[in-house]
Point group: C2
């Protein structure tokens, strides 16, 4: 985990008179173990490897806290599940491109997109805020071959949904 993130969290807790507990430490560690997006359930599994007594409730409560502290992003990927994005703290303006077929998520930053977003938003009488931008698309491989590894994985994993 980056030192800046650690510092932000410490500050957040201190400002509010909250405590750094064993469980929070473990869950936070699990959050920043990788740069991948994850669901609450996935985080639970990871956190329970660090501390088997971690409860679902604490995981959810810690996620709310981290999002509120601004070190963790929420991404709407559809399909009824919330995903969390540990790269948010460092690159709060990145966008997501999502394959509608295989679910692959690509993060990208583009200055043109940002400028345009800013213009549009202001033109419509709004102030740009959380800039969570989401494009659904279809990856080349699925397009050409009708299948890709992620799609295979998805099907094996949860029984050919989508």
């Amino acid at each position: 985990m980056k030192a800046a993130v650690q510092k932000t969290i410490d500050r957040y807790l201190e400002d509010r008179g909250l405590r750094m507990t064993r469980q929070r430490r473990d869950i936070i560690e699990a959050v920043f173990l990788s740069e991948e997006h994850f669901t609450a359930e996935e985080l639970m599994v990871r956190a329970q490897k660090l501390n088997p007594r971690t409860s679902r409730a604490t995981v959810y409560r810690t996620l709310v806290m981290l999002v509120d502290a601004g070190v963790l992003g929420e991404v709407e990927l559809g399909k009824g599940q919330r995903f969390f994005d540990p790269n948010f703290g460092e690159r709060p303006n990145h966008s997501h491109l999502i394959c509608v077929d295989c679910g692959t998520v690509i993060e990208f930053e583009d200055s043109h997109m940002e400028v345009l977003e800013d213009c549009l938003t202001r033109r419509l009488g709004f102030r740009p805020s959380r800039k969570s931008l989401r494009i659904e698309a279809c990856c080349e491989q699925v397009r050409k071959e009708g299948i890709c590894e992620n799609l295979i994985k998805a099907r094996v994993g949860k029984g050919a949904q989508r």
Copy 2:
């Protein structure tokens, strides 16, 4: 309802050997009564005015069908609820701007946005697909006055959530 939509639906049913029932007719009528976004629950209320025996299950099943037929759009507005967009059939490329504070949703179309989206998507090796674009922002009124009518309505409606 536009004739084109009607036609698409008829075609969809016929191609699959499905039937046009009283309930489907009523629910579809309710869907296109206004141009506003709505939730499944809101649609249920409207549909039940047309036919008090309408069941929740049929509403959900009909929604799935209409989205599949391409005459109805799904919008992720966050907050754990799915919204449906009856304007999707006529303007499949419009985007949504959402006020993070009051929940106001503005639909807009912008050719620059589309071009950029197209470029970005291709550059990343994807083929643009459902183009559901979503920007979270904050409306001027909330910005200046800290409140707007929509925010008041939202608070009255469901008890100051958000």
